[in-house]
Each structure stands twice: as C-alpha cells, then as structure tokens.
C-alpha cells in the first residue's frame, strides 16, 4: 500500500489541471475547478473514459494516476474550449426551441463535446448546427448513418451474402468443456488475481460457443449455479436450448434476447456510439459486426467475452431484493450484491414494492418484476458496455480493471432501477428509507 501522504483527492487534481485551461468558464464552478456535472458528463465518460480506466476514476489518486489524469485533461484542452463555446450556443438554442426536458447541463454538456469533436470551434453556422443537434437529440430528424444502414441491409443481394457469411462463421466448436470453463471463472471470481484472470482468458469464447450446442442452455445454467450458489434465473441470453443464429435485420428478431439480437441492432449501437468522423463506411461496420457476432457471446476480443462469461456466473447471485446472497457464492458476488442491497431504494423497494410499506396510495406491482430481474438487467448492460469496448478496441488491463468494470455496471444497473422506482413514486415525493 502506498503511503496515504502521496494520495491526492481527485477533485484537487482536476481543479489544478483545469486552472491551466483557459476559455472554459461556463464549465467551471466558483472555485475555478470543473463543475461537478462537467466531471460527470464530460471529463469522466468522454475525456478520461473512466469505465475503461478505473484507476483514474478513484476518489484518491496515486501520483502516477494523478499525472496521467492531468495529462489526459490538458491534451484535450482545445476540444474542451470548443465544448465550452458550443455549450453557449446550445443554451441559446434550447431557450429558443423552448426545450424543457432534463437538466440543461446534463443534456447539453455531452452534446457540446460531441459538436466540438465533429466541428471544432463553432463557426458562423453554429446557431443552426446547435439547433439541429438539439432537435435530433430530442427525437426529431433521423440520423444519416441509420438511414444508410437500413438501406444497405434492405438490398437483397447484400443481405443474402451477409447471411451466408454469418452462417459460415457460426461455429459451435467450443474447445474447452463448459464445466472446465466455468471452473476457471469460478476460481477467478473467488480470488480476483491476475493469474487466475489470465488462466481463464479462453473461458469466455468457449462458454459462448458451448451455448450453441444442443443442451447448451442447461449446461450453462448448471455451471452458473455451481459458481454463484444460487439457482440460475432466466438471464435473457437466448430463447431456446441453444443460441439461434442472429438475424440480419431487426424486423426478423424473435425476441429481445441478448445473444440473438440482430446485426442491425448491434451496428445501430455502434452508430450511436461513434461520431461520424471516427467510423468507417456502413458496409465495413456491418462486416466487422458479422465477424463479432460469430465469436463467443458476440464479442471479438477474448478478454471481453471472458468478462461477459464472468458476468453470467455472477448474475444469479445478484438478487438485491432477496437481501443477502447465499454464503456459497463467491466473495465478489456477495460483495456486489450487498452493495446494491444496502441502497436506500432497495431496502425501500423490498417492502414498498412488495406492497408492505406503501408510499403510494396504490402500489405498483409491475415494478417488482423489474427489480427481481436484477441479474438479467445487469447482464444486458454489461454486454452493451463490452460491445462498446470491442468496437473501440478498449480492454481491461488486469484483474483490478475487470473487477472495477463489473462493479461499475452493477452500479449503473442499480441507478437505472432507482430511476424506475422513482418514476413509480413520482406522484408522491418518496421518503427515502435510510435503514442502518
């Protein structure tokens, strides 16, 4: 452990670096540091990408991490200045368009950064650009990339070639037996060491491919139960006993299952994620995605598929509504579950939504189901996060990063559910149950 004397508060590091960037006043707080929302909406997710670099997101930073954070921020100074300039335009246009949804900073900070990325400093046509970006964000106007994608997949010849290519690549040869793969993951989940992580690195693809064989779903469920110590609930991975080959187009999807999502849906996510300037032509994106779909769990990089497999074996133990995870679950799973189960809203929901401590005159039964499916929702988010990493070529560096990644996804799943609970209660402002 490094002596705590060397650790610095993250906000002090950010503030010091921020002072060296001129022209960002609208993104700054009274003390000259970045606004909290600047940190949450721009610096962390877009500049530093703390999801992929968890060491730079900790509240206390080692000197090396503090230096890296400072460098990343200063290297992006021109774009941050442009972001500040774009934010001014977005504010004015938001007023003119009388948009009221959401907090102005929450909504416009990421958009300003996106415009700064695509256009640099605002020019003479900035007001129009800002207005159309706002209209698009609030649901008006289509995106050019999506239109191109739809047109491309609607071409019968391209569709036939792509489908044939996908079926050719759709292997079921797992290499590693599911039980062996799960044992490797179980060992990692228990010890969380770099060695165990490396040893398990082939497990993800092996498990993903095993799911495509007859009896795959049952084998995976038994294996996951063995690791998590809890009966595996429906995790929403696939409809049947084995993974069906995903269709090309969204309209041909049989259901919302994660591993059977269409190529189109996956590429649309990429279009949303990557700014137009940073991505290739739509045909190339589709080719890349078809290759990715054929890999285990639909993730090309083995380490990412293994992260997902880890999620699959942890998910059954994530049942915050039931309180404590079984003692047979790995320590990491118990800890994740406890973290969510402790949240005020879960303590609350455990009674309120089960209809015992009612907050609303007529409790909402629908929400209970949503909350009971925590593991399933966690996996859905984890997969989307990993898919984004795969598209960008980002990788968790070591066991600590994997742990931070999974923990972060659990937290965002929890925040999402919290929002749903809140919506259900919005008619009457909730008491937030703080039970110690």
């Amino acid at each position: 452990m490094t002596g705590s004397g060397k650790l610095r508060l993250r906000s002090a590091v950010l503030e010091a670096a921020w002072h060296r960037i001129p022209g960002v006043e609208v993104l700054s707080a009274g003390d000259g540091g970045p606004l909290t929302r600047t940190v949450k909406k721009i610096i962390d997710p877009l500049v530093v990408r703390t999801a992929a670099r968890p060491k730079l997101g900790r509240p206390l930073l080692e000197p090396a991490a503090a230096n890296e954070l400072t460098e990343l921020l200063l290297a992006d100074a021109p774009r941050l200045r442009a972001t500040a300039a774009w934010f001014g335009h977005l504010k004015r246009q938001r007023r003119a368009l009388r948009i009221t949804a959401g907090n102005v900073q929450d909504v416009c900070f990421p958009l300003a950064y996106e415009l700064a990325t695509g256009c640099g400093m605002p020019g003479p046509d900035a007001p129009e650009t800002a207005a159309s970006a706002l209209r698009e964000l609030h649901g008006e106007g289509g995106e050019a990339g999506v239109a191109q994608l739809t047109a491309y997949l609607a071409d019968p010849r391209a569709a036939a070639d792509l489908t044939a290519g996908l079926h050719r690549r759709w292997h079921t040869d797992a290499g590693l037996e599911p039980d062996d793969a799960v044992a490797l993951l179980g060992a990692f989940a228990e010890t969380l060491t770099d060695t165990a992580w490396l040893a398990g690195s082939a497990a993800g693809h092996a498990l993903g491919l095993a799911l495509r064989r007859p009896g795959g779903a049952g084998a995976l469920a038994r294996a996951a139960e063995a690791v998590s110590g809890a009966p595996a609930p429906d995790l929403g991975l696939q409809r049947g006993d084995r993974t069906a080959v995903p269709p090309l187009r969204r309209q041909d999807e049989a259901g919302p299952e994660l591993l059977e999502r269409s190529v189109e849906r996956r590429v649309r996510a990429t279009l949303r994620r990557l700014p137009a300037g940073e991505r290739g032509p739509v045909a190339d994106l589709v080719d890349d995605e078809v290759r990715r779909v054929a890999a285990g769990f639909g993730l090309g990089l083995p380490a990412l598929a293994t992260c997902f497999a880890l999620g699959v074996v942890l998910a059954p133990a994530l049942r915050p509504l039931d309180g404590v995870a079984p003692g047979s679950a790995p320590g990491f799973a118990r800890q994740l579950n406890a973290q969510v189960a402790r949240e005020g809203y879960v303590l609350h929901a455990r009674r309120a939504l089960a209809g015992t401590t009612p907050l609303t005159p007529r409790p909402d039964a629908e929400l209970v189901r949503e909350l009971r499916e925590f593991g399933k929702q966690f996996l859905g988010r984890l997969w989307i996060r990993l898919h984004g990493f795969d598209v960008r070529g980002d990788l968790p560096a070591d066991a600590a990063d994997v742990r931070a990644l999974v923990t972060g996804v659990v937290r965002s799943t929890s925040l999402d559910l919290r929002t749903k609970v809140r919506r259900a209660l919005v008619a009457r402002l909730p008491e937030l149950e703080a039970v110690s």
Binding site: T36, L60, L429
Partner: protein
C-alpha cells in the same frame, strides 16, 4: 436499527446526508452526517461541500459528521414531512397542504443545487417536477404573499436553467395566486353506522404509520375499532378507522397467532374508512387487527416511536414562524 421515521435524509449521488430528527424539528439541526455509498461518484461534490480534510475523513471511514448546512437541513425536513408528518384531528396536529410542501421542496431543491451543484442524484425529484406537481393546487391559499415570493424565486431559477416554459409558468402563478381558504382535509368521522345484531366481541387497535401511505389516516392511537356481530344471515366482522384525509387502497387484516384469518377491504366514507366481511365461523378467541396494504411483516413503527414524533412535532408550535415550513404556517392560519 433506526427507523426511517426518526432519520430524515437527503439522497445524493453516491451518498446519503442524515440528520437527527429532534434537532431538525426543533429548528436547530446542529450537525449532519454524510455517508458514502459510492465514494467515486460522491467525491466531486463532497470535497466542495465539506472541505478537503472532512472529505478525506469520509473516504477513509465511509462517513463524516459536519456542521449542518441550512439548505440541506431544510430539504431534509420537507422530505421527512411529506412522508411522516403526523396529521391528526384528534391530536390537534393539522394536515399539511401537499401542494405547498411541493412548492417549498422545489425551492429547497433548487437551493441545494445552488449550494452543491450536481450533488443531488435526482431521486428526490427535481425542482421542475416538484413545481409541476404543485402548480395546480395553489390557485387559492391563505399564504398567497409567500407563494408569490417563492414562485418568483423559482421563476428566476428556472430562467437561469434556460427552462423558459417553467419560468413563465412560475411567473403566471405569482400573478394569479389569490388569498383564501382551501379545503383539503376531511372532517373526522361521525357515528359508526354499524349493522344491527348482537356484538359477540370487539376491540380497538392503532394504525402503524409505516403500513399506510402518507397523508391518508389520522396519526392518533386507537383510531381503529372492530367488532364481530351476529347478523341475521351471518357472522360479520366490521372495521372502522376514524380520521381519513385522502383515499387509498387499504384493508384491515384480522390475525390470530400471526396468521391472517380475514381480510376486510376498507372504503373511504366521510372522514373515515370502513368495511365489513362475513366470517366463515365465529372466532373463538380474541384476535389482532392490522390496517394497511398487506399483513406481512414490515419494519414498523411502535407506539413509542409515534409518541416521540408527535411530541417533537408539537414543540414546533412554539417556534418562530421563519423556523416553520410554509405549509405549517398556512395550516395554522387556516385553523384560527
């Protein structure tokens, strides 16, 4: 274990801010405790709010006690009042106008945003949502001047946020609000209106506040009366709950040794809830009665919990007006 009825909180991104109920209700919150649930998410606002030294303490131990900030204390008090205010005709504690509480909570939330931007995670509702909920209920009020002044403050806050639509709505409210009395509480119940026949057995019970939604039932003890009556055609269980302020889906559950033996759906009447069911057979022994949404075990309030809260709330009558919420001042003015 500290029951939520005793622990007013404000939920922040990555943490909770707790206050001691007695100090908060006495208008002297003293200190507040910041508890971290996600240190990474909390650090940006935490260091600004409590300073580097206290932030380090919180990161090391998971919590820190610091002098209360009035903005946060005010918001915590309003949120607590929305859930637990023990309105009771029987005890002489007036019920609070939910629209006024909404409006005040909107202003208090905006004040916390100004104090520590980005700290609230939105779970407690935003000034915009609170204002939307309040605006329709405030056309006439006994505290029109205060509502006008709060509306103007909100209007300027919304305008700063580029929320032009709400800024205009708040301005309209400031212009339109009229002095007058609003009727929002129902009178206490009158006679039981029970059916004819011989009473086989009867009893009284109290409502556990944790089992019922806020603002629905009178907070006093012993408001529930029940009796088993031998009617001409069947044996009936009749339940009446005196003192209702609003409608809700409630039942009374008769229990024996922890088992529910009968459920009586309750319906809102004039200032009371009442209901009755036929029983399969005449209960041979005395049984318990629970009013609420279900009979399941919950982290309930005890008679001692409720008595303590009632006595703390009563001491607020002696506070200077500026230490009381606008909803309380309006309720008092409405009474006298």
């Amino acid at each position: 274990m500290t029951h939520p009825v005793h622990t007013p909180v404000v939920a922040a991104d990555g943490g909770l801010v707790r206050f001691a109920l007695a100090g908060l209700l006495a208008g002297a919150p003293g200190s507040m405790r910041v508890e971290l649930t996600d240190a990474g998410a909390a650090e940006p606002w935490l260091t600004r709010l409590v300073g580097a030294e206290h932030a380090l303490e919180a990161l090391a131990s998971g919590h820190v006690d610091v002098p209360a900030r009035p903005e946060l204390a005010t918001l915590a008090l309003l949120l607590w009042a929305r859930r637990w205010w023990p309105a009771s005709t029987a005890l002489g504690i007036p019920s609070l106008d939910p629209a006024l509480l909404d409006l005040e909570a909107a202003v208090a939330t905006a004040a916390v945003e100004d104090l520590a931007e980005g700290m609230l995670d939105g779970f407690e509702a935003t000034p915009g949502e609170l204002f939307d909920a309040a605006v329709d209920g405030l056309a006439t009020t006994s505290v029109a001047d205060e509502v006008r002044s709060l509306s103007r403050r909100l209007s300027s806050w919304f305008d700063d946020q580029d929320d032009v639509v709400r800024a205009e709505a708040a301005d309209r409210l400031a212009v339109a609000v009229l002095p007058g009395q609003r009727e929002y509480a129902l009178a206490a119940g009158t006679g039981s209106g029970g059916s004819e026949g011989g009473v086989l057995t009867e009893g009284r019970a109290s409502v556990d506040w944790a089992r019922v939604p806020p603002g629905v039932l009178d907070a006093a003890e012993d408001t529930v009366t029940w009796r088993v009556v031998a009617a001409p055609t069947a044996t009936r269980l009749e339940v009446e709950v005196a003192g209702a302020f609003a409608d809700a889906a409630l039942s009374a559950f008769a229990t024996r040794d922890g088992e529910v033996v009968a459920e009586v759906p309750l319906h809102l009447g004039v200032g009371r809830f009442a209901g009755a069911v036929d029983l399969d057979r005449v209960p041979s022994v005395h049984f318990g009665l629970v009013v609420g949404v279900t009979a399941e075990d919950i982290d309930g309030t005890t008679e001692a919990d409720r008595a303590e809260v009632v006595s703390l709330v009563r001491t607020r009558e002696a506070l200077p007006p500026e230490a009381r919420t606008l909803a309380e001042r309006a309720a008092t003015e409405g009474e006298f």
